[in-house]
């Protein structure tokens, strides 16, 4: 398994009038974990887009909300990959607060498309290689 996590405090503008983080932001936290994982692996998303000409749009999101995050919380967003992707990349994700409570968890499926034609392509080799190495480590 390839696993990555990154932490950040809740931002005020992410709260809503329920006094908790608006649910749409967990989808954004998931993205932060994925993109920070790519940058950490030496192949950031903006390099993938500019050098490989490959964009990685979201195909599907599933997210279950378990515990509200609030202003003052420091959240950890996680991303786990079990399999080297071919046409689709599946990432298991979660957001956990500073007390270890799971705020949200879910799964995101991503595709790969040519950034000019918007047509499906395979997973860029640099990303596949990065995932392969990290999966093998553990």
């Amino acid at each position: 398994m390839m696993y990555f996590e990154t932490s950040f405090p809740v931002r005020y503008y992410e709260t809503d009038q329920m006094g908790v983080v608006h649910h749409s932001n967990y989808i954004r936290y998931f993205e932060i974990a994925r993109n920070t994982m790519m940058a950490d692996g030496g192949f950031p998303i903006e390099t993938c887009e500019s050098e490989e000409g490959v964009m990685i749009p979201i195909v599907k999101v599933e997210c279950t909300f378990k515990h509200p995050a609030r202003m003052g919380d420091v959240l950890t967003a996680t991303a786990s990959i079990d399999k080297v992707p071919l046409a689709k990349l599946v990432v298991r994700q979660s957001v956990i607060n500073q007390r270890g409570e799971v705020c949200a968890e879910g799964q995101v499926t991503l595709g790969f498309i040519n950034s000019k034609t918007f047509r499906p392509v395979g997973c860029p080799e640099r990303l596949a290689e990065l995932i392969r190495e990290r999966i093998d480590e553990k």
Copy 2:
């Protein structure tokens, strides 16, 4: 079935560097359809919160992304309810562009909680009644 739809143009800040609407915004479009439906039914979410003391947090979101929305598009967000809720409200949702293409579709499950204690409560009777009437109409 209770069905509702509402339309609005894409906003520039909703686009990302792929040149399309960022995926997290479809989750927000879903919410707009639900809240406009409640307001249209004479029981807006802010009344539910302030007069009934009931908040309606999201329990689960599933969303499949099918076609990118872009600046210039006018989107229609839809919400459909098949069943009068007891403890949970399930809403089928979609976002469709001006050419009838489905950009995203999914399902959102909501709960009901007391706005002071954050404990689960049943569906407020005014909301149940509103849904019951509209379901029976069709």
Copy 3:
């Protein structure tokens, strides 16, 4: 003067834990008024970017917040232009609620840049023409 206004309801995700619309959203409402004005004039921002190769970044924003907008409000965002732009476009802006109360008002200065080089260019003639006609009308 060229004047334009467009109306829309507050969206739930735009509120924060103060129970009012987060201040950053008024900056976004200003943008909605400007972009809807361009689209209404037959020269939408996405056409300006794709056909003219000109992007219109913000140079400066000033905004005074006068009255909080809340969930349930229907806001009107306005844009007024007094002068046909050369290198810079100055737009006076406001956000007004359904009771006529001014929620925010300010001024936004925009520039024109080549979308490839990011270097300053003059105002595209189609936009200057559009503004000239509308200013002359009144």
Copy 4:
């Protein structure tokens, strides 16, 4: 002078179809610097709201945009306070990228209101004290 800074990477959803960070996000970055400063000083905004019953809404924002931030950038948001506030708090702010380039700079004026009545109050003593100490340090 009381000075504070905090750093964070650009988030993908903050970019727009110009390929740079959407201008409204700098207003949010300014807020992050202010709130992190308060938390760092032992008096976080959520404590101010819940324990003192005082909310700190924005009265005025001025922001000049100087250099676009992009995906991959690590930004530093700064907040400087020159004077212990009475009825209004004035904060000078900036956002600087990892190469030291100023992306945006401006000034934010905040007020203090009772969180129940929404009426103006003075600066909470704990916040005034915190600012007084830090200003005197330098």
